[in-house]
Each structure stands twice: as structure tokens, then as C-alpha cells.
Symmetry: C2
Subunit: 549 residues, 2 copies
């Protein structure tokens, strides 16, 4: 059994036809959903690329692994999906983006050579790399955002694109009046990208995927990780004009949200990204491009599915489709992600298991509260390994795929560290306190903010659009207290006892007694003779050869 673990970056949960989008048709996502289970309540552990991915790849909460924002290194030695899968006999490969930042200081401190196999895996979040490309080859006055080598740019150059940074001026730009029209400018989002579709990022990574599958010896897990539909929002023809302003729904927002807004929410509503997405003309240009990017992803997913079918690999390949977070797209007066409204923190998750044990659930949906950290233990179970549940904090989804109803978590957690953003300065919150926590019990969603700021509360049963912050005016204290109790329970979780499993502890219980540790004996009669034989009936005559005595 192999696992094709496909992640799309910044894909909203509701921008798929199987999830009910009215005009965006995604027949290939739907095809996987028809073969498997679509999880309708899957939450990422942090609504930002780097932290979310580190959680997904480690199976651990952001507060547990500590890499809580983009570019925060994942500390050396942290166990990853790759570590767990290789131990179970399954390879674990990367194709595309991880947003992993190596803990170079930690590697140096522990003397781990970056060019060793161990060092390379530490640097790549536990993956063996088929191709790594984080897809953000942006450049500014201080240089490149990503200072690594871009295999995608190398590919484009091999294809005849002659610019210094074709990612920037071809894949992510249009043309206007003979000049580059950058995809960074939302005004250009309706232009076709300045590239042949077959050379665009989504097409390129798909071709790499087929090439990988054609040579791979199983069992393998391949993390195929697309940068799209992540910004820059620009897409090559013919996708650039498949959707238009008529496909753009009204923003989900209300004036009420801006009254007495929770301070962090308020500050995000006033950042540069929000200011752009509050303009309807921005949404009318960006959202059709975003939809075009998704449509393109869907077509290339079709290539993969066809290839699996044609080669017979479909029969022993589990397909997993998900994202690292969503995109506000103007909802709640916001752009981008970062906070905990559904468009940001909820992601699509579709899993198709070809084995007969999953026949009963094909084409169904599952409403359980799922977290992205559930994927790593799911994959370990697929690989036939034992889930190291003293390390992995998620739970295998396999019971759901088999149609069982396991005991399940009562609440989902997500976290966001905004200490790297200007909001931290603006609010005068200390770097350490610039942290947010979401607790969602399936109905009520609490956002806790450190630093003495008030929480937010939504009742998704009565207010599915999350427009009415029930914590305003100090109301709903009972629900808030109940969710804080859940957060407290989570805060006390056992997350760092990674060197000792429950089974090892259980096997060791009372063992010290059998190794002579008996700090309770009055005269020795309290225990079997066997335990005290080292201390009994020994003559003292040879106890010391004492020249002085």
C-alpha cells in the first residue's frame, strides 16, 4: 500500500464542487470523494503555512513542536512523519513545498553534518527529497525571501525561459503594454500568466509526481505539495478567464463585526491585506483567479488519477487531498488566513482508501472533529506500524474510513502566533504574549488571546457565518468557562514525554523493587526473600582489610 498525500496551499474548504461550491466544478476532487470519505470538519493546528505544516508533518500541536510561524526552525530531533513511517517500513518522499526551516544551530550543536543522510532528513522535516520547491521565489531590496535553489526556476530555464527569475516574471506575472504586470498586484489578477500552461507550477509538479510514481518502489508515502492556489493570484490561459465577477459571492461580513471588535481581530481588519480585500474590485479580480488556480489543480489531479488507473496503481494507493489553511478572500473584512474563522482554519480533507475494508464508506462524508495532526498516525496505521502515541498527538482516521464510530476528541485546537506581524507592535502586546488559541467543540468556537485581551465566541449552530461575537459585552460566561476548561485540559496534555512510551512505563512498573530498591522495609519480612537476598545472611568478616584498624 502506498500513500499519495497531496496538499494544496491555501485551498478553502468550500471551493470544491463536492463541498457545495455553486459554480466552481472540480470533477477530479469529486472523483476522489466518490471513492472515499470527505471530512467536513477538518481543522489545521495553525492557520499559517509553516506552523500548520510542521503540525501536519509531526502529528503534533504547534505548542508541542514549537515552530509556530513561518521560518521558525523545527528543532532538531523532533519526530516527523518520515521518522515514523520509515520505522514502519514505508518510505516518505517530498515533492514540492514544506516551508521547513532547518534548525541549523541545533544541528551544529549536536554535530550533525548537513550533508549526511541524517542531516538532510533533519533539514527537510524528515522527508527524503524528490524535489523541494516552496514556491515563493519573491525578491525585494533585501534579497530573496527563499534563499535556496529553485528547481522550478531551473526547470523553466531549461525550457527556454530566459529571465533571471522566471518564477516572478513568467509564472507569476502577466503582460501589459509590453511590460511585465506582476501577479503581486491584484489589478493584474485577471491577466493570463506569462507562461505556457504546461510549464506552470501546478503542471510542473504534477509531471514530477508522475515521474516519481513511475520509478518508485513501494511501500511509499509521497507528499505532493502544490504551492497553488496560494498567492500570487494569477493563472495561465485558459484558466484566467474561466471565472468572472459573476462567480464572486458577496463577502461574508457584517458591520456588526467592526463594532467593539476583539482587539486582535480589529487590528487584523486594519492591516494592509484586509484593506485590499475590503475593496469589492479586488475580490472581483482575485477570486476568479483563485478559482482558476483551483480548476487548474483539479485538471492536474485528473492527470494523476488517470495515471494511477492506467498503471493499476490505483488499487494499492491511498489518496489524501487536503490543504494547510484556507483564505479569507474578504470574508470577515479580512484577506489571507491567520485567524480562526472557518474560511481560514477549516480545510478540505478527502481520503480514498482502495482496500475493501473501506468499501462501506465510499462516497460518504464524516462530520467528526478532525485535526490535521490526525494524518500522521493515519499513515502509520496504513504502513502497518504501531502509532507512537506518546509522540503523535493526533488519532488515526482509519476507524472512520472503515465505517466505525470510535471514541473521539471532544474539541479541536488551533493556535496562532502573531509575534512576527505588525499587529503585535500595534497592540503593544509582548512578543511572548502575541498568541491566540482556538477551541471548537463542534458548536461553540472560542478564541483565547494572551496578554489580557478578551476572548471571542461564536455559536456555529445559530450563526454558521460567525458574524455575531457572543463574547462581546462580557456575555455567555458559562459557555466561555466551559471552553476554557477544555483549553486548560489541553494545556496540561502530556506532549513532551517522547522518550518513553506508555507500554514501556507499564512494563517497568515496580521494576526497581526487583533491582534492589526497597525503601520501605522495617525488617525485610515485608517482601519475598528473593528481593532481599542480596542484603541478608552475609558474614562481615571480610568486609574490610583495614591496615590501620
Amino acid at each position: 500500500m502506498n500513500i499519495l498525500f497531496i496538499m494544496y496551499d491555501q485551498l478553502r474548504f468550500d471551493y470544491l464542487s463536492c463541498a457545495g461550491h455553486p459554480t466552481l466544478k472540480t470533477p477530479n476532487f469529486d472523483r476522489v470523494a466518490a471513492r472515499g470519505v470527505r471530512f467536513t470538519n477538518c481543522y489545521v493546528q495553525s492557520p499559517i503555512c509553516g506552523a500548520s505544516r510542521m503540525s501536519t508533518y509531526t502529528g503534533r500541536y504547534a505548542s508541542s513542536h514549537g515552530a509556530q510561524w513561518n521560518g521558525f526552525p523545527l528543532r532538531v530531533g523532533e519526530h516527523t512523519m518520515g521518522d515514523h513511517l520509515r520505522e514502519a517500513g514505508m518510505g516518505c518522499w517530498l515533492l514540492g513545498k514544506t516551508h521547513m526551516k532547518v534548525d541549523a544551530e541545533g544541528m551544529k550543536r549536536l554535530g550533525i553534518a548537513p550533508d549526511s543522510v541524517i542531516g538532510a532528513r533533519q533539514a527537510e522535516c524528515g522527508f527524503d527529497v524528490w524535489v523541494r520547491d516552496d514556491g515563493l521565489w519573491a525578491e525585494g531590496p533585501d534579497g530573496f525571501y527563499d534563499e535556496k535553489h529553485s528547481p522550478y526556476n531551473a526547470y523553466l530555464k531549461s525550457k527556454g525561459y530566459e529571465a533571471e527569475n522566471p518564477w516572478s516574471v513568467n509564472a507569476n506575472a502577466g503582460v501589459e503594454d509590453g511590460e511585465i504586470a506582476s501577479g503581486w498586484m491584484f489589478d493584474n489578477a485577471d491577466k493570463p500568466a506569462n507562461i505556457r500552461e504546461e510549464d506552470s507550477e501546478t503542471a510542473w509538479l504534477t509531471s514530477e509526481t508522475l515521474r516519481f510514481m513511475d520509478q518508485a518502489k513501494g511501500p511509499w508515502c509521497a507528499h505532493v505539495s502544490y504551492i497553488k492556489p496560494h498567492w500570487p493570484y494569477i493563472v495561465p490561459a485558459p484558466y484566467h478567464d474561466m471565472f468572472g465577477p459573476d462567480d464572486v459571492p458577496p463577502a461574508v461580513r457584517s458591520d456588526e463585526e467592526r463594532q467593539d471588535a476583539q482587539p486582535v481581530f480589529d487590528a487584523f481588519m486594519h492591516n494592509k491585506i484586509a484593506a485590499a480585500f475590503q475593496q469589492d474590485e479586488v475580490r472581483r479580480k482575485v477570486i476568479p483567479a483563485y478559482m482558476g488556480l483551483i480548476k487548474q489543480c483539479d485538471d492536474h489531479l485528473g492527470r494523476i488519477l488517470d495515471h494511477l488507473d492506467a498503471t493499476g496503481q490505483a488499487d494499492d494507493t491511498m489518496i489524501v487531498l487536503t490543504s494547510d489553511h484556507g483564505d479569507y478572500l474578504g470574508d470577515h473584512w479580512l484577506g489571507e488566513k491567520d485567524l480562526f474563522h472557518e474560511p481560514s482554519v477549516k480545510v478540505p480533507l478527502i481520503i480514498a482508501d482502495p482496500r475493501s475494508s473501506a468499501d462501506a464508506t465510499r462516497g460518504t462524508t464524516c462530520d467528526a472533529l478532525v485535526e490535521a495532526i490526525d494524518l500522521a498516525p493515519t499513515f502509520v496505521e496504513v504502513a502497518g506500524g504501531t502509532v507512537a502515541d506518546h509522540i503523535l498527538e493526533g488519532h488515526s482516521l482509519m476507524p472512520w474510513l472503515r465505517g466505525e464510530t470510535p471514541d473521539w476528541r471532544q474539541f479541536a485546537i488551533s493556535e496562532y502566533d502573531y509575534s512576527s506581524t505588525p499587529v503585535c507592535d500595534k497592540l503593544g502586546v509582548s512578543t511572548r504574549d502575541a498568541r491566540l488559541f482556538m477551541v471548537f467543540d463542534g458548536r461553540y468556537k472560542l478564541m483565547h488571546a494572551e496578554g489580557g485581551l478578551r476572548p471571542m465566541l461564536f455559536d456555529l449552530d445559530t450563526d454558521p457565518d460567525e458574524l455575531n461575537d457572543l463574547a462581546r459585552g462580557n456575555a455567555h460566561q458559562d459557555q466561555i468557562a466551559r471552553l476554557y476548561e477544555m483549553l486548560g485540559q489541553w494545556g496540561r496534555r502530556m506532549s513532551q514525554r517522547v522518550t518513553k512510551s506508555d507500554a514501556q512505563i507499564e512494563a517497568g512498573r515496580g521494576r526497581s523493587m526487583r533491582r534492589g530498591i526497597l525503601p520501605f522495609l522495617k525488617d525485610g519480612s515485608e517482601v519475598a526473600d528473593e528481593l532481599t537476598q542480596a542484603y541478608r545472611g552475609r558474614a562481615v568478616d571480610n568486609h574490610v582489610q583495614d591496615d590501620e584498624a
Copy 2:
């Protein structure tokens, strides 16, 4: 400046004359107290050797480092006092006990050779080893509790002690009727140990300390870590009969404690150790031996102090005296440690800083809520380093030593993982839930127990002996809720973001914009031209050399 960081194992906070003991005179502890500050409210982060020490040596809570019981390996890469001090230019040496268990699996996984300098420090909790001896060379049917080499036994053999395990039959046993009378049996606690006093563990480690100091090049921190007055409770002459039953205070306990007792407390009151210490005859034999062991420690502390004075090293050596936990000695119907009553969780802490900046506080006491994890950052400050407060969770005590009144913590935390004990089975609590947390705000002390068990609450102002559990009968909900809020706050602490300091985050704020990440531009006019120059005014004529087009 050097630091002599002396730890006595299982030394109760109140068994020193400077702390008010009525008949046990400890003039050398008192001599250090007269030169420095005695902290009257110092709490260990776990009342058990291994976990407590790992907290003290890492400056981090037990839930943060994960080594939550004896023999749970400290995971590879965890930063230690030694890492921090060496970075500040100070050596960090071990003489005696640490209870460190190496994370051998982690070392192997990361390819760290045990015989390299890096590997050796990983295995020794960051210390460079002058001599390591954990002082528990006990043996049972399954072999030795500690499978390492015992330098103390080697020393004894070099001195002519011919037994296979002289630790067991000489240092920790008496003689009766020509046979070894093991120190494990409390009935033998009043016998003189079967060893010359000068060869006993406390004497030996003191001699090692003088030998270390005579050759050490500063600046150094030396962790001199005595096994005593830890059990086995037996002491060589003349200390074995310096104290007698008249010196034994009545046990601090009440029948009320046994009524409706909190289940974990109740189970511990029914374990083997408790059963022994509930017998007055046990206390009458053990406590005088315990006092003799402390008296011996005090005399050998005098040797060290005299040596420092004689060599002039006293002027540039900070002296720190503390313990890893206390000893119930029958109080609260208990023996040993493990729970959170004062005799178990509170430890002595005396710090004498010879520098003139500490003149104002000599001979004073400080009542601030101090945690053992405060020592590591204190030492970093002494070494002239910058406290890495994204890793170290304690706070430097130097302000208190200088007579300042810093902003300080509002509550102290301790934790106990009893999953390795029979109590876990007895209560039917899951291995993962066998965890206890203490929150103490200086007046109220809450014990939270996972697994759905009720908490305990004491008001130390009105009930300094902690005999009246206020949480009984569901009372005092307000205080309990207040302390749970503190525990919740602690549970959300930022403890794992160890790869990125606050200063690094602050310096990086907004940096991605200057590296071309601009996901908020409508037309580019929103920012300075400098930020968009990579994307503007570029002709497209050379964008692609397209043979097909």
C-alpha cells in the same frame, strides 16, 4: 566568578538550624546563610529525584522537558545548564549524582557517537564529568538498579574494602551478630554504618570536591551533588547516635486527613512506604539517622568552606545549597516524597554571593515564590551571559540577592507523574492520566489530578500544616477556580519555541516585505517603489525563447 552548586538529595527544608530546627544544629549551612540569602519558599518542579533534577538542570518545567520520572530519558538536544553556561564562557562540571538517563535511541537516530564530546555531554545532562555517582548501587534478583560503573565502589575497593559491592554491605549497612545488617531495613537505622567515616559517601564526594577545586581553572560552575541524606537511612559513627528518639517530633498528621481523602493521596497513604512510616518505632529509628546524615553533610560542608577561605577562593565563589525534594518522614501518614505537601515539595535554598553588590542582603531571608528552575538563569547571569528566556523558564534570582524587588511570578508549579507506580494500577487511572499538578500562590495550594479525580486545596495561612483539605465536599469553588485559571495560564505557556528568541522575532518583524512578499498590493502604489522594483518596468521581449510559438 565561580559557582559551587551543592545539592543534597532528599533534604527537607526544615531540617537545618537556620530554618528553625530545634535540635539539629547545622552551623555550616548557617554560616552560608549568614553570608547570603536564605529563600524560604523554594519549590521543586517535581518531588522526585529524576524529574526534579532534569528541571533544575534544564531550567524548564517537567512538562516542558518531558523527563517526568526517574529513568525517563532526557531527550537528545534539550538545552541544559551546561549548554547555557559554556556559551557564556563558564565551564560546567559534575561531581556526584544527576539521575540522568541518556536518550540512547535519540542519539542513535541522530547519529551522535556516545564517545564524542557532544555525545558525552548529551549523555550526562550537559555536564562535563569530574565524577558521576548516582549513589544507588542497589541489587536485586533482576540485577543492579544502576548498571553503570560505580566510582565510589571503585574507591572503596582501592581503600581495602573487599566486598563485591561495598556500597551495599559497608557504606549502607551495619553489623549485627557477625552478619551484615542492611541499611534497607529500618530496624538497622540506629546502627553505625560498617565503614570508616572518612570513606563514607559524603566524605568521599567532599574530598573529590576539594581535589576538583584545587586544579580547576575558572570560571567554573561545579555541581556537587551528594546522595545523602537520601535513604538508605544509615550513617557511620559518630553520627549514628548523635540524635535519638527525643529528637523526633510528633508526625504532622491528623485522623481527618484519612476521611474522604482525595483518591491519589489516599492510595499513597496505603502504599508500603507509608505503612512503614506510620509506625512510630520506624520514625524513632529513621529520623535520628536522617538527622545524623544531615549533621555529617554539615560537617563536610565545613571542610569545603574552610578550604575556600584558606585558598582565597571564597572571594570569587558563589555558594548555592539546595535539594531535589524533601522527605515526608511520616508526616501526613506518608514516607518518601512524591506529593505536594511542604515537607516533600519545598526545599532549602541558600545562596551566598561574595560580591559587594550582594552586601545588603547578607544574612537575610527572602519569601518570594522561588522555583528550582530559577537556578539555571541565575547562574547564566553570574556567568555574564544573556538568559535565553525562550528556552529557560525560570527567572534569575540575582535581583533578590542585590536587594531589589523585581516583578515576580504569582504562583509556583510542581508536577508529579505517578504512572510508574502501583498507585496508577490501583486507581485504574490510565498511564497517561497518572499526573498531578500543584499550583501554589503563596497562600492557597491546589493539587490537580488528571483522570477525573477531585483536586485538593490547602490554605497555608490558616492551616500551615496542610491538614485540612478544603476541596473536600466540593467546597471553596471560588479559590479552586482561581487557581485553575493560573494552571490554565501556565498550561498555555510558550515552552517549545526554543529555536527562535524574542529578539530574533522582533528583529525579523516585517522583514518578508523587504524580501518581496507583498500579498496586499492592488497596483503597487501602497508601498515605497523600492519594495516593488523587482516587479516593475520590466520589458517582456526576452521573457521566453519559445521555439513553438
